[in-house]
Symmetry: C2
């Protein structure tokens, strides 16, 4: 629901009349993401004047909810010093993402104008690849030494609170900066002020590693149901936290990426309407051409058996039915297996169990589908041998397809490659070629 | 990472020796979900004795992380009074899910043994369909009247804190129970004790509605990046909260469901290895049979044009290449569009833009693919007319496929049906039939 759209005309009038305080009042009644949602209804002059008029923390909160392309456009339009002010206040993780996309020269200029600690923060976070826990984490977290008392910790938190925006956990470190425990804000509030953190903390805390892939990191956060999880370096020192809102985005993105791969195309990592025509075409054409070449093999197969087809042209009538049915069964299996491997429902250890189950499933489904196919060919063409050929072929092809649809993703996972490409059109195309060999070989034996 | 697996043998020995305190110490060092993960390594006697020996709150936290089938098995194995003790301590949302699956008689017996408020809570939550915000929400939230002072609110929170487990926000109600504002725990900690909640609260708060579909509710929570969002009834009264950890599960589940639908099968809502063979077969066969019947149409098309195929058998060689290529392009488009509609990247308003873009894309991809196909047919068969027939057909078929792949999902969304079924095998099968008509019609004109 876009609650804010109704007030856009009013805001525009107020902006024009330079009644800045009234604009601020309106904005204060909504969430930053809502303001960002209606941002496109303003023209660039209005957008820039909004960002300039608001205090930097509020401007930053709205700004970081915009699409990165918008961020790039607006930050370049702002006066540099003003831009640095907004950048100072942004969430460290969103800010690092923006700097990664900024032209280097502009980035350095902003860094020079930003506050020292914030600029250093950007430089640190930019070291980590964006698809790792390090790339996902923010550095705005609360930490304290284990010997700190609850009272001191609360006092420090109060002082730092305005910077921290959200506080769910206080992470406890030893003198070497190693993560040794975690205390929830609730526990802190409930504990006597004179107790030490080491007494009330949960020791042996779970953590993520800097270099962990973001998908794995997201799975860990989701598994533990934590609102945030600490990230440590190879020496066990606390370097940042990954918050659950970023995890939600990762889970969505990873599912989208898997779907694209499962449709035999390269991952489109931008919104459909934002990605350029040629860039989208390039992501699609590579696989399409590769699959077209695989499909030429089916032409070769048909050529080899052309004698049979010339003798019984009706054989050709059932080619789409046969290859289609096999492909459909293979698509079902591969989709379930790829998804199961992605969510962790299926692991490599289940491999043989999964594959043998799918072979059985293929036989069972094939038997039902083969019966329909037999009936269609027998009654349709009045040819028993043709009916039997088709029926048997359907059973064999569906079984082959469920085998391929389960074996190939599991095999790819074993090789530590992404199983997602072993699905959809790729499986369907493979099945096409093999189906024809099975079909025409069975025909040769039964019909001639 | 299953950190806990190493201590399982030790725990088993301790359980056998009835050294309950030592077992408790071990468990205290881990997260409940970790204990739940290793639960399967114990036999039923050990599992039951663990649940009995632990204090009910700890037992409940581990218990609610188990799969619902395990929960059913164990809760029936526990002495009823003990079971009620664990149920009293469970999270309201997980507890309601369990009661929904329990045999009615057993459920009523537990309800009779449970504490009054907890039993009432189960009855209330069970009213809401499980795929709505009401079905997703928990009733363990903190609320206060708007005239309450910060000091009073903090005192109340401290008293209730042990029950509440997590506190991120304090929801503010008026005397009629209507949600009027929200205060974060951080704000509360930072505000002067004598201030009233109505002065420090964020008024006009965002909320979910009880009857909202869980997918929509999840999207809202994800959009606002909140850790929890309040759920209100039709009178605006606060009834519960949806927490982000449940949202993460919903997002995962909805993506899996979409993938299953996109593979033309009914949604398998259990883990692949848990769902029964026949139940899985049933979810797959319906679509497979339906698609097989659609594919019989392609046989009819070929029959109509059998004269052409008999005259130029080479026409048949390229059928799999043509239908396959069209199907692949259609699968790519439909996957992107269905996913875009699901994440909200694409909306109905973008409909004509998306469809015209895909027609253009189809022409462009078709041109490239058609050139390859032409080359293959011309040089492979030494027949220019055949080459032109195939080339032109590929262009037409790919364009038709991208049109179908974009038009049908958008049309289904317009009809308020799930676009996900308009993808994968369904599109491929439709494309098969139409491709053949296009191909053989072009052949008739160019070849004869």
């Amino acid at each position: 629901m876009e609650r804010m759209r109704l007030v856009v005309p009013e805001m525009r009038e107020l902006l024009e009349a330079r009644q800045v305080e009234d604009v601020k009042d309106i904005i204060a009644g909504f969430e930053p993401v809502e303001v960002a949602e209606v941002f496109e209804h303003f023209n660039e002059v209005e957008q820039l004047s909004l960002l300039k008029d608001l205090d930097p923390p509020t401007a930053a909160k709205i700004f970081e909810e915009l699409h990165i392309d918008e961020q790039m456009r607006l930050i370049s339009g702002l006066e540099h010093r003003r831009a640095a002010g907004v950048l100072n206040e942004m969430s460290p993780d969103d800010r690092a993402d923006l700097f990664e996309d900024l032209p280097e020269e502009l980035g350095s200029r902003f860094l020079a104008l930003m506050k020292q600690p914030e600029a250093a923060d950007v430089r640190e976070l930019m070291q980590y690849p964006s698809n790792t826990a390090g790339g996902l984490m923010t550095t705005k977290y609360a930490s304290a030494l284990e010997e700190t008392t609850v009272g001191e910790a609360m006092k420090n938190l109060r002082e730092r609170a305005r910077k921290l925006e959200v506080i769910y956990y206080l992470y406890v470190e030893d003198r070497a900066g190693r993560l040794v425990g975690v205390v929830s804000l609730k526990q802190l509030v409930l504990s006597a002020p004179e107790r030490r953190l080491s007494d009330i903390m949960k020791s042996n805390p779970v953590y993520l590693k800097l270099e962990m892939h973001q998908e794995e990191a997201a799975k860990e956060v989701a598994k533990y149901d934590f609102v945030a999880m600490p990230v440590v370096d190879e020496l066990g020192r606390l370097r940042g936290i990954v918050t659950v809102d970023d995890v939600v985005d990762v889970i969505e993105t990873e599912a989208t990426e898997d779907m694209h791969k499962m449709a035999s195309m390269q991952v489109v990592d931008e919104a459909y309407l934002r990605v350029g025509f040629l860039s989208l075409a390039r992501k699609r054409i590579v696989w399409l051409v590769a699959l077209l070449f695989i499909e030429t093999l089916s032409g070769k197969v048909l050529q080899v058996y052309s004698g049979a087809i010339e003798a019984v042209v009706a054989l050709a009538y059932f080619i789409p039915l046969l290859t289609g049915t096999g492909g459909n069964a293979g698509a079902q299996t591969s989709t379930m297996i790829v998804r199961g491997l992605a969510t962790g429902e299926i692991s490599i250890r289940d491999g043989t169990r999964v594959i043998s189950r799918e072979i059985l499933m293929g036989l069972f489904l094939g038997l039902i589908l083969g019966t329909f196919a037999f009936a269609r060919a027998y009654w349709g063409e009045g040819n028993l041998a043709l009916g039997l050929t088709l029926g048997t072929s359907v059973i064999a092809v569906v079984t082959m397809a469920t085998l391929a649809g389960s074996l190939l993703p599991i095999f790819f996972r074993l090789l530590r490659r992404d199983p997602a490409v072993m699905a959809g059109p790729f499986i369907t195309t493979l099945v096409d070629v093999v189906s024809l060999i099975i079909y025409l070989e069975i025909a040769r034996r039964l019909l001639f």
